[in-house]
Amino acid sequence: MKRDLPGRLRLVVVGNGMAGARVLEELLKLAPDLYDITVFGAEPHPNYNRILLSPVLAGEQTVKDIILNPLEWYAENGIRLHLGKKVATIDRIAREVIAEDGTRQGYDRLLLATGSNPFILPLPGVDLDGVLTYRDIHDTERMIEAAATQRDAVVIGGGLLGLEAANGLQLRGMNVTVVHVMPWLMERQLDRTAANLLQKTLEAKGLSFRLEAHTQALVGDGRVAGVQLKTGEIIPAQLVVMAVGIRPNTELAQAAGLHCNRGIVVNDTMQTFDPRVYAVGECVSHRGIAYGLVAPLFEMAKVCANHLAHYGIGRYGGSLLSTKLKVTGVDLFSAGDFTGGDGTEDIVLADPGAGIYKRLVIKDDKLIGAVMYGDTVDGSWYFKLLREGKSVAQIRDKLMFGESNLGDAGHLGENRAAAMAPEAEVCGCNGVCKGAIVKAIKDKGLFTLEEVRKHTKASSSCGSCTGLVEQILMFTAGGDYSTAPKKKAMCGCTDRTHQDVRDAIRDQELLSIAAVYETLEWRTPNGCASCRPAVNYYLLSTWPHRAKDDPQSRFINERSHANIQKDGTYSVVPRMWGGETNSSELRRIADVVDKYAIKTVKVTGGQRIDLLGVKKEDLPAVWKDLGMPSGHAYAKALRTVKTCVGSEWCRFGTQDSTRMGQELERALWRMQAPHKVKLAVSGCPRNCAESGIKDVGVIGVDSGWEIYVAGNGGIKTEVAQFLCKVKTHEEVLAYSGAFLQLYREEGWYLERTVHFVARVGLEYVKKRVLEDAGGREALWERLQFTLDGEPDAWHEPGRAGVDLRQFDAVGASA
């Protein structure tokens, strides 16, 4: 236990709900020893997942299942926990809080996470027995008790919470009527058509509804017996649940003189008007908005923890919300502004027979709202488009049919996450099926995409199944869980992003991995297999000829200069300039194949010859006997320049594409990059070298060369975008080189050019490479400076720093 260490700051948290506990989790990750922490919770339970009260009420889970942080967690982290103690006053002058039972606790920093209170309609009869709100475990338990002994229930409020309560009570055998004051259900999340479909589904499950119905009074003697409407109708009910909304719980803050306005007013760092006092969760008002869903809570918690840890780099800028109803058998999703109005357009798909309705709202070529009923599999994708605010003009005609219709191979045939069988494969890269993901989410209590990736490996490789995984996460864990965080840490060793690290290396002139880890306060002594190769690359690309390469921080392929295969042997691909070879090279290749008993010889897609099944100990001799340069088929570097035969032979050719390709390859080989780089040069627009799907694709036309960038033939085929048209070979070299140097200097590790350009925008690339002539020349010169004198590891292993010991084993039979 590390309590009461002298000199530690005291942090007091009022409120032991999801928001408060989440801040502590984030804080302990960042600065585990900074604070002496005390938590006050009014409820007698450790922190639990309030969102999952509905499945508890419905009998699908138990209270034990939804505990997030058991008491041991508090003990392990040295947190002093006061359960069942409500804080009565905050003395901001003496800096202490006083609980109702007289417990006093001083603070240096105070965090208010007091949540919200259910709103209670001021009706006659609200004090009768059997009238409940729906907010916590206590309410849920009382509802379960009532359902066991009573027959009829009325839920007042047809919003998200009300409908979940109604569904739960109905499943526990009660006759349930929902009384709602608006003309349709969930009017804040659904439009009328979707709400009508929802109502029909729920009626089929046995629920009754009174819409546009105003409650006049609750009648009964001692215990409630019925709900009287303004029309005079009395609906019998021995249980009445009020779910008409929540109000931020600001009582304590207000009494302490903190500025409140429909919530405790906080700034972008989650501080109240007293900077020692922070507030997060449903109790706050941020930029005039009080949030009642969990995703914003988590985003706030991250920022708040960051600030409490004295990092001070996080800002909370508000959240966009999406909703999903946690009623088994009901598929519903809504996000953003779906009311429409001036300047907006609707795309609507309605199939009432199948119970499917989708409406997308578009404004200025951007998706601003989505409502879906019956088929919500693309909900998370729409939500992503909405948050990113990118133009959807290009995909507009296909937008309604979902992500899987954009030609994404990762989704083929799997466009209904809900209907998928448990054994159906979700992640093709890591062979993860739906059942495994669902099990991990349930058993391990996973919240975020990142956690699912860590535990199941699903979506952790190519990422094309991310939408599907998010969808499964939503179905399994309940709708409004946070999706991938906006600012993504490089890996578990740090909270810094790739950009943070790149910036620090350049701005602070860091020259070694150790210096990066020390300056940026890495949590691990020598990083991990994910961050070390990235940092090594950033150092080398930022400080060419100055930073020293660290082979032990490279993946085995780049350390041994060959590609490891599944059986532990290697493959060797010699360089053939522009895909051209000759008889003496082919003869040497044939001799090597015989001499080293190489099993397979394969022609690659990049116009090279691949020798597969080489033993590691044979590699240096194979390279020497081949007498050809390294093809770098193993490296995050320039791989190949593919060419067609061009004007020298082809009757259609307009330009000498082979020579152009060879010039490019000779100028750019040994160029390391954030990821592999493939080029192609075609001699005419027939494009036999497939320049349209390359990182840089060059196409010869009568009057010169067209340059295309950021194409990709991989997981998701992306057509390269037109950059410019130039006249001479020198210009092709300079423009292509400048583009690649920009990518080398500003791309993130493992980011292909297609993702780099998508992130920074083609306009930015044009500005740097086309419009700024001086900048273009400087980029091209920096690339040539980097490549000047760069050794070929196959033939100058000493200069290239290859550790030759790796090729020999030691021991008895070595």
Partner: protein, 102 residues
């Protein structure tokens, strides 16, 4: 039975060497940043990948085939992966790495 593998300095820091025991088995001998040595059978519990070729960090190695992380001390895969690989006693005596084979 104790056998001498090589000098400690014959193994790169944050790296490994392969030791052949003469019976067709390969044992990977690792050296961490702080010069601790560990020895594991050179086969990942996942698909048999050669752990000696992985990236070493802290007291773990990442398998070069599918990036499973194996704890060098226990030979166990790091959660959430499950599995373990046979480990061997190994120590440094006067700069020589000595392996205990059973």
């Amino acid at each position: 039975m104790k056998v001498r593998v090589c000098k400690l300095d014959d193994i790169p820091r944050l790296g490994a060497r392969r030791y052949l025991n003469g019976e067709g088995n390969t044992i990977a001998v690792f050296r961490t940043a702080d010069d601790n040595v560990f020895a594991l059978r050179d086969a990942c519990p996942h698909k048999g990948g050669p752990l000696s070729q992985g990236i070493v960090f802290g007291q773990s190695v990442a398998c070069p085939l599918h990036n499973w992380c194996i704890d060098l001390k226990s030979g166990c895969a790091t959660a959430p992966d499950e599995g373990a690989v046979e480990r061997f006693e190994v120590c440094v005596v006067d700069g020589d790495v000595e392996l205990s084979l059973t």
